[in-house]
């Protein structure tokens, strides 16, 4: 179980994609899963976001429903089959973002306690200005929730993004120690980052047995 964490615009999805390509080319059985992607809560999430019905608590719980559903269908079965699961964002996203929105840190940890602890978590550290630059050059507008506009920090999306994501960054930094996430310098050149990541992944895969993907052994990940 390998996951990537970091604020929006940190480049984590790009790096995970490159990692996936590499693992597949070397014959590893890989399954990819992404934060907030289950069909189950899509409609509630859309309605909540569009009509601005979401509070910090319901925002958090809807993501937890999405996670629990993906844990059942996307994460546990491939792990039990001995595959490598790549997750774009994991529980640490909730621990950082939901707490920045105002829920209690112990509460959100309890909500996600059914989760497994990943074998490797890569944390893409990036200064706010660089992430903003990347996001604004890619698309015209910042998304409402990504900028933390729902928290009411500023009426200006860019300013709101700056304040909100700074809080998120600060919490991520604390989580790095608490959960042993491996920091990656997300300002480095893309191929350089990928080289560092592949070395780390190679390390955790040293004892990986491809035959396990035939279902001969159980899960090795332990609970959070």
């Amino acid at each position: 179980m390998i996951c990537v964490e970091g604020i929006d615009g940190s480049g984590k999805s790009t790096q995970l994609l490159l990692l996936e390509r590499w693992l597949r080319s070397r014959g590893y059985p890989v399954h990819f899963t992404e934060w907030n992607s289950s069909r189950l809560v899509r409609r509630s999430m859309q309605r909540g976001k569009k009509k601005n019905l979401l509070t910090p608590t319901t925002f958090s719980l809807l993501h937890a429903v999405d996670f629990a559903d993906r844990l059942t269908y996307q994460i546990l079965p491939p792990l039990k089959a001995g595959m490598i699961v790549l997750a774009d964002r994991y529980v640490y996203t909730a621990f950082a973002r939901d707490v920045a929105r105002g829920v209690h840190p112990d509460w959100v940890r309890a909500v996600y306690s059914p989760a497994l602890r990943p074998d490797l978590t890569l944390y893409f550290r990036v200064p706010i200005d660089i992430s903003l630059e990347r996001l604004l050059s890619g698309r015209a507008k910042l998304k409402y929730h990504e900028a933390g506009m729902d928290v009411g920090l500023s009426a200006d999306p860019v300013e709101s993004f700056r304040i909100f994501q700074s809080r998120v960054l600060e919490i991520y930094d604390q989580l790095t120690l608490e959960f042993g996430m491996r920091p990656i310098d997300a300002t480095a050149e893309i191929p350089d980052q990928q080289r560092v990541i592949r070395t780390m992944v190679q390390e955790i895969l040293r004892n990986y047995d491809r035959n396990r993907a035939n279902g001969k052994n159980g899960v090795t990940s332990h609970s959070c």
Partner: protein, 252 residues
């Protein structure tokens, strides 16, 4: 005579730390009891009575939030959820109603009658095999009701009521748990376990238990008696509090 709690409002766990601490002068009354025990019929009779007594009343029911009711119905139709996912879905529905219906009404001084409250999740999750401590931690964001009225019934008395009412339904019979080969057996076992669990919770959380086998009017009389007792205690308390605060203002 049952003793009713007269403490000020409190949160079950960590609550919602981002909410500003506003006064909640209203009253939160939860009606608990298993499926088909007659909760909604009783609530329908309570409302006009309370309004005649001069109280403004707001109702709220399980899985009725605008944010999630559709998703919950779809999920049930698809039969694809684990108990963990279900619990979180119900918790989200609950939180949505708490923040958008219950708390604003309490702030405005209404009596809120909740048709089921977090204890229903505690009972169901535990029967379905979820870790009870986990369920309770998830519901740590909940406000503790001022009064919980529990409509108690045994499964033998419940069965004819449900059959003559809307009939045995797939979920209320616990068919998703595969407890029995037919609907009746499954209903009997599932509801029996739920009722055991509610009774245990009743002791733990100090529910006021009323005998739901009574005829409708008599049961309504019992409920009104307990609510009136609670309200008169609460009113005495708030008169005392305001007298105290007037006295202290005079001293200054």
């Amino acid at each position: 005579m049952a003793s009713h709690p007269t403490h000020a409002k409190s949160w079950y766990g960590h609550g919602m730390p981002y909410l500003t601490k506003k006064r909640l002068p209203g009253h939160l009354i939860a009606i608990e009891g298993t499926d088909g025990v007659g909760r909604s019929a009783q609530i329908e009779l309570l409302r006009p009575w309370l309004e005649l007594e001069g109280y403004a009343v707001s109702n709220t029911g399980w899985t009725r939030s605008p944010l999630l009711s559709e998703t919950i119905n779809e999920a049930k139709a698809g039969h694809r959820l684990t108990v963990t996912t279900f619990s979180l879905l119900y918790a989200a529905d609950f939180a949505d109603r708490l923040e958008h219906e219950i708390l604003p009404a309490l702030q405005a001084g209404f009596i809120v009658i909740a048709d089921r409250y977090m204890y229903t999740a505690f009972a169901r999750n535990s029967v379905m095999g979820a870790d009870p401590n986990w369920t309770r931690e998830v519901f740590g964001m909940a406000l503790v009701p001022d009064l919980v009225l529990y409509l108690d019934i045994d499964v033998e008395s419940l069965i004819p009521r449900v059959i003559m009412g809307k009939g045995m339904d797939y979920w209320e019979s616990g068919m998703h748990l595969a407890l029995g080969i037919d609907l009746f057996d499954s209903f009997e076992r599932y509801q029996g376990r739920l009722i055991d669990e509610y009774r245990r919770l009743s002791g733990e959380f100090g529910f006021v238990s009323v005998d739901a086998r009574l005829p409708i009017e008599e049961l309504q009389g019992e409920l009104r008696k307990h609510i009136a007792e609670y309200l008169s205690g609460a009113n005495d308390r708030s008169r005392r509090d305001s007298a105290d605060s007037r006295a202290s203002t005079r001293k200054e």
